[in-house]
Symmetry: C2
Subunit: 210 residues, 2 copies
C-alpha cells in the first residue's frame, strides 16, 4: 500500500469515472467518486484541485466531444445554429452535468475555445464587438435551459394550487422529451430570427451613416 509501483490514478481516469458517476444520475461528490475508483478521497488531490476542478475537467471532455468538428466556412447563421444544436445535444445526452456546471466559472481550455469560436462567427457575421458577448450569453443560456428542461421536463412546474391556465397547458403538452424538443425548435427559430433582424438593423444604420 501507500505509493503503488505503477500509479493507480491519472487525471484522465478520474475524469472518465466522474463522467460515469454523473451520467448514472447518482449524487456527484468527491467522496462518492473516490469510492467508485476504490481509492481514498484524499488521493484525488494528488492529480486534481478538488471538486470544482473535476467538474471543469468533465465539462472540457464533453465540449471536446460535442463542439469540435464544426466546419469553419459556414454562413454565420448556419454556424450559430449548428453550435447551439451541438451544445443542446451535449446537454440532452448528459443531462446530469447541467446543474453541476451552471454555477461554475468556465475555465477549461476547450470550453473557452468553443465560446471563442462562437465569438469569431458572430464577429465575422458583422455584429458589433460590444454586443458579441451578450449574444453568446443569450444563446448559451438558451441551450442550458433547454438541457435542464430535457433532463426533468415534468418537474419544472408542479402546481399544488388551482391555476387558470398552467395546469391545463401542462396536461395538454405531448409528454416529456418530445415536448422539450419542440420547445427547443421554436426557441431556436425565434432566436435566429431575432439575430438576423438585429444584424439587418445594424447594417441599415451603418449605411445611413455613410
Amino acid at each position: 500500500m501507500a505509493r503503488p509501483r505503477t500509479p493507480v490514478l491519472t487525471a484522465a481516469r478520474i475524469a472518465d469515472a466522474a463522467m460515469e458517476l454523473i451520467d448514472s444520475g447518482k449524487p456527484f461528490g468527491v467522496n462518492a467518486l473516490a469510492r467508485a475508483l476504490s481509492v481514498q478521497p484524499s488521493s484525488l488531490y494528488n492529480h486534481l484541485d478538488g471538486r470544482r476542478a473535476i467538474i471543469e475537467l468533465v465539462r472540457g471532455r464533453l465540449v471536446e466531444r460535442y463542439m469540435s468538428d464544426i466546419p469553419e466556412e459556414l454562413p454565420w447563421d448556419e454556424a450559430v445554429e449548428l453550435l447551439v444544436r451541438s451544445e443542446r445535444r451535449m446537454y440532452t445526452e448528459h443531462p446530469h452535468i447541467v446543474p453541476l456546471i451552471v454555477t461554475e466559472t468556465v475555465t477549461d481550455a476547450a470550453a473557452i475555445a468553443s465560446y471563442d469560436h462562437m465569438a469569431g462567427v458572430l464577429l465575422r457575421g458583422g455584429f458589433p464587438e460590444e454586443e458579441v458577448l451578450v449574444l453568446i450569453q443569450l444563446l448559451d443560456a438558451f441551450a442550458l435551459g433547454s438541457g435542464l428542461d430535457f433532463a426533468a421536463p415534468e418537474d419544472v412546474w408542479e402546481p399544488t394550487t388551482p391555476t387558470l391556465h398552467l395546469a391545463r397547458l401542462l396536461a395538454l403538452q405531448p409528454s416529456g422529451k418530445t415536448r422539450s424538443d419542440q420547445a427547443f425548435e421554436i426557441g431556436l427559430e425565434m432566436l435566429l430570427t431575432a439575430l438576423r433582424a438585429r444584424l439587418a438593423a445594424h447594417q441599415a444604420t451603418q449605411t445611413d451613416a455613410s
Copy 2:
C-alpha cells in the same frame, strides 16, 4: 428547555432568517440557518419539510414582493416586458437566491400564480396554446441567466489560455453591473421583437386559412 411556553419558531421567522442568510452571501444550509436562529437543526423540521421546502418558501416570498401589483389591462407585449423586468430585478437585488432555485421544481403557490399570470397574458395576446409554456420558459431562462450574470459578471468566463477574441472582448466591456444591464436590455429587446414577429406570422397564417 425542550418545548417553550411560547414557540420560538414559525415558518415566517424561518423564512426571514433564510433570506437574510442567503442575501449575506454566506453558504446556505439547514445547519447554518439553525445556527443563525440559535436553534437546533432538527427544530426546523417541526415547521418545514427540510432544505428544499425552505428554499421554496423564500422563492415564494420574493415572488410576492416583486411579481405582484402588475397591472392587468396592459397590451400583451408591455405586460411581458414588465414581468420580465420585475423578475430580473428580483434576481439582481437577491442574486444569491439564483443558484439555489435554478435546480428546484417550482411548487410555491405565489410562484405558480406568477407563471400562470404570464400564461394568461400570452394567451390573451393570441399565442397558440401549445406554444405558451415554451415561451414562458424562454423568458424565464433569460431572466434567470441575466440574474446569474449580474451576480457574478466577471466570473462567467475566465480564459487561462490565449484566445482569438474572447479575452479582448471581455477586457473591452464596461465593467460589471452596467455591462450586465446593457446585456439585459439588448436581450429583452431581441426577445420582444421575436415574440411580435412570431405572433404576426401566426395571425397571417390564420388569415390565410380563413
